[in-house]
Amino acid sequence: MKFLNHLTLGQYIPADSPVHRLDPRCKILSVVLLLAGIFMMKHPVAFIAWGIFLLFLSRFSRIPFRVVIQGARPVIILVLFTAGIHLFLTRGITLWEWGPLSVTKEGVGMAFRMGLRLSFLVLFAGFLTLTTSPMELSDGLESLFRPFQRFGFPAHEMAMMMTIALRFIPTLFDETDRILRAQLARGADLDHGGILRRMKAFIPVLVPLFVIVFQRAEDLAQAMEARCYRGGTGRSRMNPLRWKRTDTFAMAGTLVIVAIFVLMDLGA
């Protein structure tokens, strides 16, 4: 159940905080600004400043810092890998050598910088999904991309796809489980032999799954049509997005903070 919750609701943690109450569009744009700022971060002082800001944000959105860190756990390997590559592959003054591997002074600096940048990117982006429900998120994205609809960008379709995908993930898990058990009951051997044999054994699971998915998609399309769905035109929302004055303030605040951080970095 917890696993399914995670899949359907993403990382969203409902709470009553000023950050939760912000318009999703404001949060998406702010995160884009923050990420751009983090990309430019170089100086150690800047890292400390961003770190303090991160703590402040965690406090402000009533998300325990522990939870923020947990959300970034899946990318630790990526962070370590990136740092490692920079550690060994940056040329400069050699500090230590072992066979073909060498660690340079510049390499150490780069490894730290890239590792921290990547971690900060993930941590800050995490706040968006922690404080915004998937529904709000897709509404926000749809609204932000709507101007591009004139050039043929399918903003509404994209949002609707996101909604339906989230809705059907648990159903598909159930379905896969059911087929798997049916095939196992018929003597399918799914966990012996080499990788090729195992992959072949999964074909009888995948084929019915695809058939079921297409059948469901057709049924769903018909059910949506029966409920007067005809795309994004003329559609309203139960909870329409409303840009409030606090959103403007938050946006301006983010802009100022990012500008200060970047200027500080350039000056130092």
């Binding site: 529904m135 059910a223 949506m224 007067c228 309203s236």
Partner: protein, 270 residues
């Protein structure tokens, strides 16, 4: 409400028509039970009512609007809502109230009215406490009630249920039937498709489909008097009716009766 004149329908690519020359009219406020064997064309007929399918021959009129006119689709679908067999394939959103809101949102209604409709419909099907629950965590019966709420949120004049109780347990089925009785009392037109004859006891009219044609139409008492045809129609007499017939044959009962326990008792010991 509905008027079908000489309606035939052939699925694209199919050789034999799924429906051939159906003549049927349904008045406002009727509760019509549509029964018949597998593949007799019940679902096809249901989809014609909602303009999900357009007759290949003949006319289908819904509230006087012809379904083959693209401009009428919108009006027709707001007046006729459908509930399908598998609730999992008709729930669109991850959260209960957002799913009920889907239809009204498509109609472009203002936010306040959507909130009102969502709450009313959830109360009607007894799901108001679940309104913030994730839809995957509902039971089968609750899911089907949610699907009904979603259909009712369109404020239709007619509800078409295509085997809406087929996947439910007895309790879930009774819950749905209770909602239907409630709706019928409020004047909603109902078209109920089912395989189970014990579910149609509230219907005001019964239509039997066989091989794409209307094999028989009439009221409940008439239906159970047609016992010789049941095999041909692919239907099964409810045990209670069979029992009352056996009693009648042995002169223990003055007349055969409908599958109501109360009626049987009254006839047995007047």
């Amino acid at each position: 409400m509905f008027a079908l004149r000489g309606v035939s329908f052939t699925y694209p690519g199919a050789v034999t028509p799924a429906l051939g020359g159906v003549e049927l009219s349904i008045r406002n406020g009727e509760w019509v039970a549509l029964i018949g064997a597998n593949g007799s064309g019940k679902s096809t007929l249901a989809k014609l009512f909602n303009a999900l399918l357009i007759p290949t021959r003949g006319d289908c009129l819904v509230c006087g609007l012809k379904t083959d006119n693209e401009d009428n689709l919108w009006e027709i679908r707001r007046r006729v809502s459908m509930v399908f067999q598998n609730p999992d394939n008709q729930i669109v959103a991850s959260v209960v109230e957002e799913d009920v809101a889907f239809g009204p949102e498509n109609l472009g209604l203002p936010s306040s009215e959507i909130h009102e409709r969502v709450f009313d419909c959830l109360c009607l099907v007894g799901l108001e406490e679940k309104r913030r629950a994730p839809t995957y965590a509902l039971s089968g019966g609750q899911k089907q009630r949610l699907a009904i709420a979603g259909a009712l949120a369109m404020q239709p004049r007619c509800l078409v249920l295509d085997e809406a109780t087929a996947m439910l347990d007895p309790q879930g089925r009774e819950d749905v039937l209770k909602i239907l009785r409630d709706l019928h009392k409020r004047g909603m037109t109902l078209v109920q498709i089912t395989h189970r004859l014990d579910e149609i006891l509230d219907a005001t009219r019964v239509v039997v489909l066989g091989k794409g044609k209307i094999a028989w139409a009439g009221d409940l008492a008439g239906l159970f008097a047609m016992r010789d045809c049941f095999n041909e129609w692919g239907l099964e007499m409810p045990p209670l009716v069979r029992f009352s017939r056996k009693l009648q044959e042995r002169n223990l009962l003055p007349k055969a009766c409908l599958p109501f326990v109360k009626e049987l008792l009254e006839n047995l010991c007047p």
